[in-house]
């Protein structure tokens, strides 16, 4: 099990930097994703308009989130879905456990859902004695390896094909090979039975449409279609921020999400699920349960800067663009959501005390802001959170004192003059802290101050 936490981020990052194999895998993956995203964005001549429109829609949704959620619930219920509300992770797990228990579930198939990673749903279900199988290939790999995902879109991106092959040989008895097509068909064959015999399918939700009560889920592998079509019960877990107002809004978001995530125009499958089947003899589950979860999201609505955190559509583009993520990968963040978006939502979801280092996991280069399909200003959010950290008990008291003194000096011309004269002397005698100079070059203080020069010109 992955034991890294956000509290030891600095240490985690140093360890990740020393992992040559990981860095190679990350370099290949993130540069390929980045290249494909760019090509896909350029293939549309209205990409910037799409981003602006998407952000405007999200801003509207978040400002009226309560009423859009109520409309979504009403429409979903009208079409036969049962809608549950979970204030936090424990409650979401309790709701789902109870549904599975009441339904006598033995085998549960799951498709990739970061929201269920967030709640550690699999642990909860297994504690009840139920077997949960992850069906997305990347998630299946890390489930077998007892690890956590290291990327929002490609959970096993940190593993080489050799590592996957060894894993499959050890856990599935597969004959040794590292041919990727073979590995994939091994996974397909092994999971087929599970799909056929599963009692319950659990999925996430990419978008919930208020106007119709539809849940929309996108994928490439087909495991989501199987998870949501074959078992008799489908449970879909949706964060409160996933709701969109109108069905037609999908024209914008279905253009932005696949291109930003993987560089595809469309992923192989989109499932638009609205309630339950009309006739008992039709194909599909008998029951649809939608679990709407808060778990700390509603707090982010309290300020415009933090509210935009909830605009995120979980595409992963910011991870691929981030020079920090590119070097250290997802596990070092010690959180369910890594990368730039993880650095801003993790402190807000789990508390600044538990993730105080994450807002500093950035050079503020802004690459994430450039690629974000919904124009989240992540650097601004990072600065906002840094201010919170500095003001909190986790902040550095010495740093607070130094900045107080600095402010006094800068506000007073005479103190400033004395300060620069002192600096001219001190720079020869006392070097600056290595923590400062290790990553920075500093020019020596000028021999004549500007004010002196000005006076004598």
């Amino acid at each position: 099990m992955n034991h890294l936490t956000s509290e030891t981020f600095d240490k985690n990052a140093k360890a990740a930097l020393a992992d040559v194999q990981l860095r190679g895998a990350l370099r290949n993956a993130t540069s390929l994703f980045g290249k494909r995203r760019l090509e896909a964005a350029r293939s549309l001549n209205n990409w910037e308009d799409l981003r602006t429109a998407a952000r405007a829609i999200k801003d509207d949704v978040l400002l009226h989130l309560d009423s859009y959620l109520e409309t979504f619930e009403a429409n979903a219920k009208q079409r036969g879905a049962v809608v549950h509300w979970a204030a936090d992770a424990a409650e979401a797990n309790a709701i789902i456990c109870k549904l599975a228990r009441d339904h006598d579930a033995r085998t549960i198939v799951k498709s990739k859902s970061m929201t269920t990673e967030e709640t550690h749903l699999n642990d909860a279900l297994e504690a009840e004695g139920m077997q949960v199988v992850e069906t997305d290939l990347g998630e299946y790999i890390i489930q077998l390896a007892h690890e956590t995902p290291s990327h929002i879109i490609a959970p096993a991106i940190h593993k080489t094909k050799g590592q996957v092959a060894q894993l499959f040989t050890e856990t599935l008895g597969m004959p040794p090979t590292d041919d990727i097509a073979q590995l994939t068909s091994t996974a397909r064959a092994t999971l087929r039975d599970r799909f056929a015999s599963a009692d319950v399918g659990i999925s996430g939700v990419n978008f919930g449409i208020a106007e119709t009560g539809t849940i929309v889920i996108v994928e490439n592998e087909g495991n989501i279609r199987l998870t949501t079509s074959v078992p008799r019960m489908h449970i879909a877990v949706m964060g409160i921020e996933k709701v969109l107002p109108r069905f037609a809004d999908l024209d914008i978001f279905l253009k932005l999400l696949p291109r930003s995530g993987t560089g595809q125009r469309l992923t192989t499958y989109q499932s638009f699920i609205t309630g339950t089947k009309r006739n008992a003899s039709d194909e599909g589950p008998d029951e649809l349960h939608i679990v709407i979860m808060d778990n700390g999201r509603s707090r982010m609505l309290a300020h415009p800067v933090t509210r935009q955190s909830l605009a995120c559509i979980r595409c992963g583009a910011c991870l691929n663009a981030c020079p920090v993520y590119q070097q250290i990968g997802g596990h070092a963040y010690g959180s369910v959501y890594p990368g730039p978006i993880g650095a801003v939502i993790t402190p807000q979801l789990i508390g600044i005390e538990k993730a105080a280092q994450l807002p500093y996991a950035s050079s503020l280069c802004g690459a994430c802001r450039e690629v974000c399909p919904v124009k989240i200003d992540i650097p601004r959010l990072l600065l906002h959170l840094r201010a919170d950290v500095a003001a909190s008990p986790k902040g550095n008291a010495a740093e607070r004192l130094i900045f107080k003194l600095w402010a006094r000096v800068m506000l007073s011309p005479s103190l400033y003059k004395m300060g620069t004269m002192a600096a001219r002397v001190m720079q020869r005698v006392m070097p600056l802290s290595r923590a400062w100079t290790n990553g920075r070059d500093l020019r020596p203080v000028e021999r004549q101050s500007f004010r002196d020069w000005w006076k004598h010109e």
Partner: protein
């Protein structure tokens, strides 16, 4: 650390009495929004200018489908449809589309996991992405188009829309939408291992689309 599955003894299902989670969440949303300072106004965009598509839809559809490893043939008659289908061997499961039953006979599908080939029609398609639109209310093809390793889909040329937006308007019109609609763009795929493309994961490994320029099968 693991999550605990709390046995809340039906508290989550209470509607009366102490505040439900639904009310807790809605109240939290409202109070945090009310406490928020005002935001800068959003950038406005009146509407997103749609991209005009000049190319003929059938050719564009074929080009885009083949770019994602799908196979596409264009036919002009029912005979050609039958010809194309009989080229593919294996145990065949057919959806309940009336035209298909006429051409290939109606056999009840027993265990869908036992079949090699699934045949269905598609209610529409999208040229700009090479996508099929399957509406489960109009045809029983949800599993036939998913479980067997080969999927053959027949779509009328006249049902091919240029854009995604048009297809979305087609599946949701007059306030109606089917319980399950699926968009299919090529065979199933993954790049989860070393970002190397592998075709054929859980969904079909091969997708054959027959674009029918002749009279529609559903007539």
């Amino acid at each position: 650390m693991g999550a605990i599955c709390v046995r809340l003894s039906d508290r989550v299902f209470e509607t009366g009495g102490s505040m439900s989670s639904r009310e807790t969440i809605l109240k939290s949303i409202r109070s945090h929004l009310a406490a928020s300072p005002p935001d800068d106004p959003s950038e406005s965009v009146s509407s997103v200018i749609p991209i005009s598509v000049a190319d003929e839809p059938v050719a564009l559809f074929k080009q885009n489908l083949e770019a994602v490893n799908g196979h596409c043939v264009v036919v002009e008659s029912e005979e050609e449809i039958v010809q194309q289908v009989t080229r593919i061997s294996g145990k065949i499961a057919i959806s309940d589309a009336p035209g298909l039953n006429r051409l290939f006979g109606a056999q009840p599908v027993e265990n869908i996991f036992d079949y090699d080939v699934g045949i269905s029609t598609a209610q529409a398609a999208i040229a700009e992405t090479g996508t099929l639109v399957l509406d489960s209310a109009r045809e029983r093809h949800r599993l036939v188009s998913l479980v067997p390793p080969v999927h053959i889909a027949i779509v009328d040329a006249s049902s091919i829309f240029h854009t995604l937006g048009e297809a979305l308007a087609f599946i949701y019109q007059n306030g109606n939408i089917s319980p399950a609609v699926t968009f299919i763009t090529g065979p199933s795929r993954t790049a989860d291992i070393e970002l190397t493309l592998a075709i054929g994961v859980h969904g079909p490994q091969e997708l054959f689309v027959i674009v029918n320029k002749g009279p529609s099968l559903s007539n």
